[in-house]
């Protein structure tokens, strides 16, 4: 019931989004909202911190870019192919990473990210290396930024509903059980590594899909798309928004992209603000912005209750 209201609120915000922000920024926010939501499937729901989400974002972006430039395939095929590629890669990388837990899991995801970054960096004939991969053209019908925004908004809603469905499903509940108590989840009969791999792969699929949309947004795949700093940004977005709540990462992504795209124009040391915000969140607001909303709501209801009391 509550989720339904939040969902309606999101639809409302999507409708006014391009009128309060430039279309491209609003679009970028939605793309990273998908990425942060997907990251929360593993971080918030399954309890796995990955520093390698940019691997799948970058691979999705490069795949979509290359297929558009060289093969000239129609958009749905490009998006599907990029997603499938990122998903397949996640099965392979994930199968190795889930063999380890905690710090070692994090380091493995990070190592694979570095590896794919250097592949992209050195294979200049394919990826353009440091200069990025330019010339990714959107189909004529989507050339207009507002039209592209509408498409991304619809795809964002589809991803949102699909991910909500995953977390409410038996899989989602087993993910949470593993996050809470891995040994017990195994003792009652769940193959924990298989479930972790499942969570990792679903997350990567959405991340790769978002990467594909990103390449079409600016018409270029910058090398940053696959850099490990990007992986760090994705973790920041998720935590600032709030990893304990399904919708939380959307707020984090919006805040992060808005800050990087608007404040960076005025002040190029903008990451300092981000650092301060992140430190404050970690110190005082573990649940992220969602926790702030929750506390605010609690305060209002408490006051309301006091007022009606005799």
């Amino acid at each position: 019931m509550r989720d339904r209201w939040i969902f309606l609120l999101i639809v409302g915000v999507l409708a006014v989004g391009p009128f309060v922000q430039r279309e491209v920024i609003a679009t970028e926010i939605l793309i990273f909202a998908v990425v942060a939501l997907a990251n929360n499937l593993i971080l918030g729901y399954t309890g796995m911190l990955s520093f390698g989400q940019a691997t799948f974002f970058g691979v999705g972006a490069y795949a979509a870019g290359l297929l558009t430039i060289h093969a000239g395939l129609p958009l749905p095929v490009v998006l599907a192919a990029a997603t499938v590629l990122a998903t397949g890669l996640a099965v392979l990388i994930g199968a190795v990473c889930v063999q380890r837990i905690g710090l070692y899991f994090i380091m493995l995801t990070f190592a694979f990210n570095q590896m794919f970054y250097f592949i992209a960096y050195s294979w200049t004939t394919l990826t353009g290396g440091e200069d990025g991969l330019p010339g990714v053209r959107r189909p004529a019908a989507l050339a207009d930024d507002l039209t592209f925004y509408v498409l991304v908004a619809l795809l964002f809603l589809a991803c949102l509903l699909l991910m909500k469905r995953v977390v409410d499903s038996p899989w989602g509940r087993v993910f949470r059980a593993i996050r809470d108590n891995e040994a017990r989840a195994a003792a009652v009969g769940h193959d924990v590594r298989r479930y972790k791999l499942l969570s990792f792969t679903i997350s990567a699929a959405f991340t790769g899909f978002a990467g594909a949309l990103y390449s079409l947004l600016y018409g270029i795949v910058p090398i940053d798309a696959i850099h490990w700093l990007r992986s760090g940004d994705i973790v920041f977005m998720t935590l600032i928004g709030g990893s304990g709540h399904f919708f939380g990462p959307i707020i984090g992504a919006a805040f992060f992209i808005w800050l990087s795209e608007t404040v960076s124009v005025v002040w190029d040391r903008w990451p300092m603000i981000l650092g301060v915000v992140f430190a404050l969140v970690v110190l005082f607001l573990r649940g992220g912005v969602v926790e702030l909303i929750r506390r605010g709501h609690g305060l209002v209801t408490a006051r309301g209750g006091a007022a009606t009391a005799p």
Binding site: D180, R184, V192
Partner: protein, 249 residues
Amino acid sequence: MSALLEVRDVSKSFGAVAAVAGVSLAVTEGRLHSIIGPNGAGKTTLFNCITGEVQPTAGRILYDGRDITGLPPHALPALGIARSFQRTSIFPTLTVAENVWVSAYARRETRGGPVLVPADRVEGVGETVRAALAEVGLAAHAERPAAVLAHGDQRLLDFAIALAARPRLLLLDEPTAGLSRQETQRVIAYIGTLKGRYTIVLIEHKMDVVMTLSDRVSVMYFGRLLAEGTPPEIRGDARVREAYLGKRA
């Protein structure tokens, strides 16, 4: 009566230390079989060999005639083996009902079915959850987060999680460890009600708990099996008195 669980000459060494050295025992179907011994006797290591947490260095473990040595922990519930943990092991942020659901679903999962449906609508799991919660008397707390339950209630939830797997064999690792006297009484009374309905292996070091509940008792001492028998036999055994009960006997 046949043995449901058989431990054959099992040893487990950690480096040069032999935690378990050549232990054999047979648990008869429908009985409550306790394994006792002072701290460091190797009870928990033996228990972990049975549950698949550690691999025995030598020996076999047979369940219902089948060799289960070295199977991973997650493979056992499907065979009908469930366990509880020495330190209460639940899913704290999940609700009480969800805790039990996770176990009931593991059993159901193997049969396949649609996956992207709301978890509570998976057929045949809800009834198991309700039955398990009613059995331990936690039905009224079903929708509360498990973390807020009292310590004794959490221990009962731990049992409910094990029971929801509909096991034949129940492995209980020091179920009264860390509980107050009152909570201990409650848990013992509860284990009494399970007797006869399940085959139970109970690891304990509290003598009184074991003597009132058990059909059969195995005593471990320094990694070896010192004696085995009915509670009165064990109580009368001079070696056990000397080794385990010490000066108190």
